[in-house]
Subunit: 306 residues, 2 copies
């Protein structure tokens, strides 16, 4: 593995994907948002995860968008690309591409169409990708989000992969959003592979156990707040920050999550490109947007602190 | 819509996908199996559904395999291609390809990565594919298999799509494998769109309600038996046939389903290409294969009747 120029620590927003009127990716807006998050102190960005509707875009679109971000000034080493696909040859193609352009790392789900698959099949799938990419520069973050993917990553799977590829498996993104399993994962694996939680409410608990960062959807909007939650879990703003993120998640919870995130961005950026989603998601309608606008005014986002 | 040269009725096995030692599709064996099923009286074949591990193969592999079947003597009009993908542009590409090569029709899932999506999003997704393919030759079979895809097709979704595209939506493959919902679907939609069930044990009940065929995994092995179950639900062999298929499914139920189907084919064909699966599935091991061999001997497959 080559020396890291960008550390794993800090906030890597689970990047939302703005769309143009044809529902193609708006690369200029995508890159502008990425650069603004880096300017706000994020270590990097994570495009094409679940919040970013990653699986709604073709392999060709995903490759072109990563190239487009880099061409527009986003440093490759500050990108963790979700290269997850149902078909392993396509996961290999995207993972190889990410390594070749110099991305910091890859966020990788197991194949997610078939359900009830054995642990050995999940291990075989990761081995397929890592062995075919066969590049010492590859850094993989295992992605656990069973309520969406339908395929959990057991401790046995993680442990086996970490033993097989100690240099390649560098972290675990745990978006299971269940505190006890998240803490168990941290207690078992934090020494060997950094555990990031996707549930912002669990960030202080994980930060206290040594988690150095987060891949977070909320960080698209409140990167500084999320950074303090995990980085300063006992800091002077801890109680206020947890209350703020709880309030923000309660607002979003009244809508479809990704559509709501995009609605927030559309309001804050005053740009319709944020509002659009690809099917099977549905954009907020006018009434929802109006309601959300009122809720956001009450929330009173403070860019200097949030 | 062009006149149909091959009717919808009859048995269309959910085709298993044999693999070579590199776990690439063995096109010669794939085509040979397809031709043998047609010779045994099947109306057509259905590659790349769930039993066929369809989502484990890349878009390029799936296109090439359909071309390869046709080049090896499988009539295009006897192929219903599963063109389902998580990303709509890729579903469009495969669906367009299937239409252009003259396939009988397409079996189409909603996008299956995101869960809990609204009905409107599922409708929008189907519209995306049908409107972008924009070809009067397109025939779509809606594919309902929520225990795997995670995205059910509600009556509202089916009804809306059938009204929007009365000529294009020609059937529903219901692999939900729950009898009451299957019967409700048949009662509501059989007049307008043929309902096929994927659960062989429900075939006589559906046949009695007018279902004219089946897309069936079991039909890879026992095509004649499956044909009688749905085509002659009150025929002289009905009780014996139902007992036979029940026994066969009980044998398979002791293993992972697709791996077990492939184990059966490996034993019957004496060919290791059938045994192989792509991760995240796992092949039967030697002990399982030995046990299965004994069970198959007791089952005593009769090619003339089964």
């Amino acid at each position: 593995m080559t020396a890291l120029t960008t550390p794993f620590s800090g906030i890597w927003p689970a990047l939302l994907t703005p769309l143009d009127a044809n529902l193609d990716i708006d690369l200029d807006l995508f890159a502008r948002h990425s650069r603004s998050l880096l300017a706000a102190g994020c270590t990097g960005i994570t495009p094409f995860g679940t919040t970013g509707e990653g699986m709604s875009f073709s392999v060709a679109e995903r490759r072109a968008a990563i190239d487009g971000l880099i061409a527009r000034g986003v440093p490759a080493e500050r990108i963790i690309v979700s290269t997850s696909c149902a078909a392993l040859p396509e996961a290999v193609e995207l993972t190889r591409h990410a390594v070749q352009v110099g991305a910091h790392g890859c966020l990788l789900l197991p194949p997610f169409f078939l359900k009830g698959v054995p642990d050995q099949g999940v291990i075989d799938a990761y081995r397929w990708v890592i062995d075919k990419v066969a590049d010492a520069r590859l850094r993989v973050y295992l992605y656990h989000i069973p309520q969406v993917s339908g395929v959990p990553l057991s401790h046995h799977v993680i442990d086996t992969l970490k033993r097989l590829y100690p240099q390649t498996i560098v972290g675990i993104k745990d978006s299971g959003c269940q505190r006890e399993p998240s803490l168990a994962l941290a207690d078992k694996f934090m020494d060997d592979a950094m555990v990031y939680v996707g549930n912002e409410l669990d960030l202080p608990a994980l930060g206290a156990r040594g988690s150095k960062g987060a891949i977070s959807g909320v960080a698209n909007v409140t990167p500084k707040l999320v950074a303090r939650l995990v980085g300063q879990p006992d800091g002077p703003d801890a109680a206020r920050d947890l209350a703020r993120v709880t309030e923000f998640l309660q607002i979003l919870g009244g809508y479809g999550l990704t559509a709501a995130f995009k609605g927030v961005m559309a309001i804050l950026d005053d740009h319709p490109g944020w509002l659009r989603v690809r099917p099977p998601l549905v954009s907020l309608d006018d009434a929802e947007l109006k309601k959300l606008r009122g809720q956001l005014q009450a929330f009173a986002l403070d860019r200097s602190r949030d």
